[in-house]
Amino acid sequence: MITIQKYVRPQSLEEAYQLNQNRRSRIIAGMLWTKMSSGAVNTAIDLCDLGLDTIEETDKQFSIGAMVTLRQIEQHAGLNAYTGGKAAAAVKDIIGVQFRNIATVGGSIWGRFGFSDVLTLFLAMESFVELYKGGIIPLAQFASMPYDRDLLVRLIVKKTPGSFSYQAMRAQRTDFPVLTCAVSRLDGQYRAAIGARPGRAMLIKDEEGLLTGGINEESAKAFAEYAAGKVPTGSNLRGSAAYRTHLAKVLVERGALELGGNA
C-alpha cells in the first residue's frame, strides 16, 4: 500500500489538474490498482466531489464520467440496450460486486492495463476520451499513448448503429483474463478488439472486407485468421503466446458468428 501525506478533494477540474502536476501527487479513483503499488504519495487527489459519477445518455451518445463505477456500467439500461448486454458481460467477472462498486471507468481506461476487459469492450465501439487539457481524442489513440499528468474527465461512446459480441477466456471466474475479445459491426464496418495479449488491447479493422459479403463459418474463420495474424501475443504465467494466438482465432471467429447476419 502507498503512504499518503495529504488527502484533498478538489472542487474543480482545474484544481485537480494543478495538484496533479506535481509528480509526487496521485489521482485517486477507485484506488484498487493504486493500493497494490507501494511508494510515497504527497497529495492524494480524490476526484469524488467533481460530479463525474453519472452516465448521461442522449440520442447520439453516452457520456460516462470518469468516476462511474464498473457496476454502473453493468447495470445501465441504455448502455446494455445499445450493446445487447455486452457491457454487462464484459465486466461481470471482474472480482465481485463489492469490487465493481468501487472500480471506476476512469481508472480502468487511464490505466490502459493489458488485461483490461473495460478497454477491450470500449475499443470495439466508437469511443473517445475527454482529457482536461488534451481535449477529445479517439480511445484507440489514447490506448497507445504514454502516461502523462492530464486528467481523464469522461469517456464518450457514440451510438453508431451496430451490434457487439464480447468474450474473455479465464482459467477461473473472477481471475484475470488470459485473452479478451470484442467483435463489432458499426455502420456496416467490422472490427475486433483483442486484449490481455498480454499487452494492451489492440483494435483490428476488417480492412480487407472479409466480412462485408456476409458472415458465415468461412468468412468468420478468414477474419479470425486475419485478426490473429495482426495481433502480437506474448507469454506469461497465465498462458503462452501460442495459446493466446490460438485463443484469438477461436474467440474472434465465435464473436463474428455471434454477430451473424449481413452487413
Binding site: 500500500m1 502507498i2 503512504t3 499518503i4 501525506q5 495529504k6 488527502y7 485517486i28 477507485g30 484506488m31 484498487l32 493500493k35 497494490m36 492524494a44 480524490d46 469524488c48 461481470k92 467477472d93 472480482i95 465481485g96 460486486v97 463489492q98 469490487f99 462498486n101 468501487i102 471466474r173 473472477t174
Partner: protein, 151 residues
C-alpha cells in the same frame, strides 16, 4: 485529519491519517466483524455498506467515507438474523471466518433483488471467498430461506 460519518446509525467523528483505510478505522471503532482476508481486494471479507452499497472497506480510504453513512454487521444484526440460521443449518460455515462478509453481501443482494435465482445468488456472491466450504452450503441456506418466505 478529522472525519464525520454515520456509523451503524450513529453520528461519529474520528481522527485519521490521510492513508488510513476504512477497515482499520472501523475496527478501531469496535466493528470487529470487519476483517482482512487478503491484500488484493479479492476476498470480500471486509464488505461493508457505504450509503447502502456493498464495498470493500480494505480498499476505501477512511477519508472517502467523510460525510457518508457506513453500516457493518454490528448494525445489521436484525436484518441478518432473518437468514443466517438457514446458512448455519446447512453447516455452511466451518471456520466461519468468511461469514460476516457473506452475510453483509447477502443483505445487499436481498435488498436489491428480493427473489434471486440460484445463478443470481452465485453471481452476486462471486466476490466472497471461502477457503473451507464449496459454497454449496451457503447457496442451499439462502435458497431455503427464500423458499421459507414463500411458505
Amino acid at each position: 485529519m478529522e472525519i464525520k460519518l454515520k456509523l451503524n446509525g450513529k453520528n461519529i467523528m474520528g481522527s485519521i491519517e490521510p492513508d488510513t483505510l476504512l477497515i482499520d478505522f472501523l475496527r478501531e471503532h469496535g466493528c470487529y466483524s470487519v476483517k482482512r482476508g487478503c491484500e488484493t481486494s479479492g476476498c470480500g471479507l471486509c464488505t461493508v455498506l457505504m450509503d447502502g452499497t456493498p464495498v470493500l472497506s480494505c480498499s476505501v480510504l477512511a477519508a472517502r467515507a467523510d460525510g457518508h453513512e457506513v453500516y457493518t454487521l454490528e448494525g445489521l444484526q436484525q436484518e441478518a438474523s432473518d437468514f443466517v440460521g438457514f446458512i448455519a443449518d446447512q453447516g455452511a460455515d466451518q471456520c466461519g471466518f468468511c461469514n460476516p462478509g457473506f452475510v453483509m453481501n447477502t443483505i445487499a443482494l436481498l435488498r436489491e433483488n428480493p427473489d434471486p435465482t440460484d445463478d443470481e445468488i452465485r453471481a452476486f456472491l462471486a466476490g466472497n471467498l471461502c477457503r473451507c466450504s464449496g459454497y454449496e452450503g451457503q447457496l442451499r441456506g439462502i435458497r431455503n430461506y427464500l423458499d421459507s418466505r414463500k411458505g
